[in-house]
């Protein structure tokens, strides 16, 4: 069978690093081809080359057997190539429809944009694939999960034949992922071809036909997915065996460190997002707040960390009321925060890796004294954390955060927050976008925090992570905790039902 896409011997360099080193990828028509590799292995780079965002130093690209030069995304579009990026490229204060038609607006007379028509078409596609996106809501008002769907819609709206998904499932709930998988299968049955980047081996097993593995920029091999186990794929990408189980002893919870009582929080749309919520988190335990995206998790975290005002209620840390404190003071009292949206809150993308590592400690000794930065100390801290958390980049401490791979950006944030060793570490989707090796490491570190007598408040959409890492699980549904269970006394099914709000479980 013929290949729709052939990328042959592609080499792409960045300052200090060969992101792709003689990589070959061949995709057949109508197949789902997975692209697997560690954080920084060069997956996004390879796809950006295919989408015309980067020009390779070496190698050729063939589309439907013909050699082509894809010098910019418009040319990629002409060849029927569409891409959903790892980090969305949406205009925050535009509506869904405006974002989707950007660059190819349907016109009425006198060059006016025919929004109504576009809106209708968006709605149609949305319904056809069961994406249930409201074409008229603003991007800034919808959840990250919804934004993801807008990106998918955008590609479908442009009638792309070859669809590139760069970690599309990282932000979706299990149900949404399930739906997306269905959509993808439907798309290929209509003759479209898909390149899927994901770190979740289960997804690769579920939908893809072939899997190409990269490691440190180099091509390792392409395998038939049905003949390969998850363990084999993991080993191919990391170069060693990976354990999928989190090793941990039974938790030894002691006294309550974070106590939240009758918390009420209002969201951006002035709706009650958190309703009369009460929860206690103890030292020495990992408490997980599970739930489907958009059930008040974001507002809940923002209320604890101080990014959002609360309406009423109390938040006590070590017996001290912190709900009126500034963000800085909460950090000093012992709140650590791995934020949900790494680009919005977690990083200053135009700062270097080193400057980002200092974001929570720059004002304290030894990183500064009397308002003067101690560059030597700052560099030491940065180098140490890079080493400890295996942060990979082109130029080490000097690298601009913007140019780092998504997973490595995430590692910077995790390293910084964990290094604070806070009383309570609020970890919102901490392993989003990390490869299996890195996830293994982060989970180990979370358990270590717990064992050293700290508390971890984990917010995760991922069932497996919730069940594997947490000691206790609080299920959040429409802003309320509808159930509290021990992680070892529940299963995916029960949690799923609780998350859907159908069973108001027993509060332990």
């Amino acid at each position: 069978m013929e290949y729709v896409i052939e990328m042959l011997n592609i080499t792409k360099e960045f300052p200090g690093i060969k992101a792709n080193d003689n990589v070959t990828l061949r995709v057949k028509k109508g197949e789902i081809h997975a692209l697997l590799g560690e954080n920084g292995a060069g997956k996004s780079t390879l796809m950006s080359v295919l989408f015309g965002l980067y020009q390779p130093e070496e190698g050729i690209i063939k589309v439907r057997g013909k050699e082509v030069a894809i010098t910019n995304p418009n040319i990629a579009n002409e060849h029927g190539i569409g891409m959903v990026h790892q980090h969305f490229k949406l205009v925050e204060n535009f509506t869904v429809t405006e974002n989707i038609i950007l660059g190819m607006e349907p016109k009425k007379s006198f060059g006016r944009i025919d929004i109504a028509k576009a809106s209708k078409k968006v709605k149609e596609i949305s319904e056809r694939y069961g994406l249930s996106v409201d074409p008229n809501s603003k991007i800034e008002d919808i959840t990250v999960g919804m934004q993801q769907r807008v990106e998918i819609l955008k590609m479908l709206y442009r009638d792309a034949e070859i669809l590139i998904f760069d970690e599309p499932t990282a932000v979706l709930t299990p149900q949404e992922i399930h739906e997306l998988m269905k959509i993808m299968k439907e798309l290929v049955s209509e003759g479209k071809s898909i390149v899927l980047i994901t770190h979740k081996l289960k997804e690769i097993k579920e939908v893809s036909d072939k899997c190409t593995v990269l490691r440190k920029g180099r091509y390792i091999g392409t395998v038939d997915v049905k003949d390969t186990t998850e363990e084999q794929m993991a080993e191919m990408m990391v170069g060693r065996e990976v354990s999928f189980q989190v090793d941990k002893e039974e938790a030894n919870p002691t006294d309550v460190v974070l106590s939240i009582k009758n918390l009420n929080v209002i969201n951006n749309r002035k709706l009650q997002a958190v309703k009369n919520l009460s929860i206690d988190v103890k030292r020495g335990e990992i408490m997980c707040v599970a739930g489907i995206d958009g059930n008040g998790q974001s507002e809940f975290i923002e209320a604890i960390t101080g990014l959002r005002k609360i309406e009423s209620g109390s938040i006590m840390l070590n017996g001290k009321e912190i709900s009126g404190m500034t963000i800085r003071n909460r950090t000093l009292e012992g709140i650590g925060h791995i934020p949900e949206d790494r680009h919005k809150h977690g990083l200053v993308l135009d700062f270097t890796l080193e400057e980002n590592m200092a974001l929570q400690t720059y004002y304290k000794e030894p990183l500064s004294k009397n308002g003067l930065i101690n560059f030597e100390e700052r560099n030491k801290v940065s180098e140490r954390l890079i080493e400890e958390f295996d942060v990979r980049s082109g130029q080490g401490s000097e690298t601009k955060a913007r140019s780092m791979s998504g997973g490595n950006q995430q590692k910077v944030i995790i390293a910084r927050e964990m290094d604070l060793s806070p009383e309570v570490l609020i970890a919102a989707q901490p392993t989003r976008g990390l490869d299996v090796g890195a996830i293994e490491y982060i989970h180990k570190r979370l358990v270590e925090e717990r064992d050293s007598g700290k508390a971890v408040l984990l917010i995760s959409l991922e069932m497996e992570e919730v069940l594997n890492v947490a000691d206790k699980i609080a299920v959040l549904y429409e802003g309320e905790i509808v159930g509290m269970v021990d992680a070892d006394k529940t299963d995916e099914n029960e949690l799923g039902l609780m998350m859907a709000g159908s069973k108001r479980g027993e509060v332990s």
Partner: protein
Amino acid sequence: MERFRNYLANEKNHKILIPIIAVILGFLLGNIVMLITGENPIELYKALIQAVFGVKVDNIGTGKTVFVVRKVGEYFVYVMPIVLTGLSVAFAFRTGLFNIGAEGQLLMGAFATTWLGITLDLPAIILIPIVVLGGALAGGAWGFIPGYLKAKFNVHEVVVTIMLNYTALHLTNFLMKEIPGSDSVKTAKLNENALLSSEMLRNLTSNSRFHFGFIIVIIALVIFWYIINKTTFGYELKAVGYNPNAAEYAGMKVKRNAALSMAISGAFAGLAGVVLVAGTFGYGRVLSAAEGYGFDGIAVALIGGNTAIGSLLSGLLLGSLNAAQPIMQGQGVPKAITIIISASIIVFVAMQKGISSSLKKLKGAK
């Protein structure tokens, strides 16, 4: 050749390369315009050389005076305030704020300097610091107003600073005339001890108005560089400028920093007022309209990439074009040419994204 191409393609070097390329393109465009309109482009460069180095190229070997230093002094007299307003705009920009109000802040600084310099009678060693700090404070206070309004009520600083420019113009005109000894166009002379001008510098530059203000400029450059690059305050300002959400997340006081940044920005502009009054003129002036130092400052900051050293270099460049104007006119070349050049440099700098991506394509191009 390969190495050079890779140097050009490396994004890290673009911060320096882009302004240089913009300047080259700006001059090229100016030369093309000159050729089309039948002027000799060489005249432009001769005028620039005379303006900056005081060398009359035409007179070399003719026995006439070759070296005329007065023009050089006047060149620096013009450069000093625009470097300062440039620093003002650049500083605010680092915090993500657009200070269009350097003009007004300059005028407030100028008034404070005039008033202090005329009413106080102290030895120079005390009076000069008072005059300089007074001017900086007045400019800073004027800059703080839009900063505060932004922080407190989220009013956009561009609107407020533009309005405050007009307010400052009329307010200072009124106040200047109230100072004893003023007539309708200018005030009395400042106290001798308040002046930055010096006999020595004047003699050195054959009677130009060159003065000790250059020391203020150098100190201001160092302060700017120091705050932005060495202090945690500068680190915060940059974080706020790049990503206010992350700055807030990290516990920085985003609003307070914005207000402070505008105040410091205003202080730099206020210093430009000091330099003009205590240095260049020696008296306060009643102006019928703004003189455009504030807008020059925007150009200086833009071309200089909002850095200290960049502001100095671009101030020197734009100053040279300005100083070349009268010389070119003397040769019958319209002065509009220099305006075309400086305007197109700004346009090319504004096209930095495009220039940057073209440069990147140079790499490995076969």
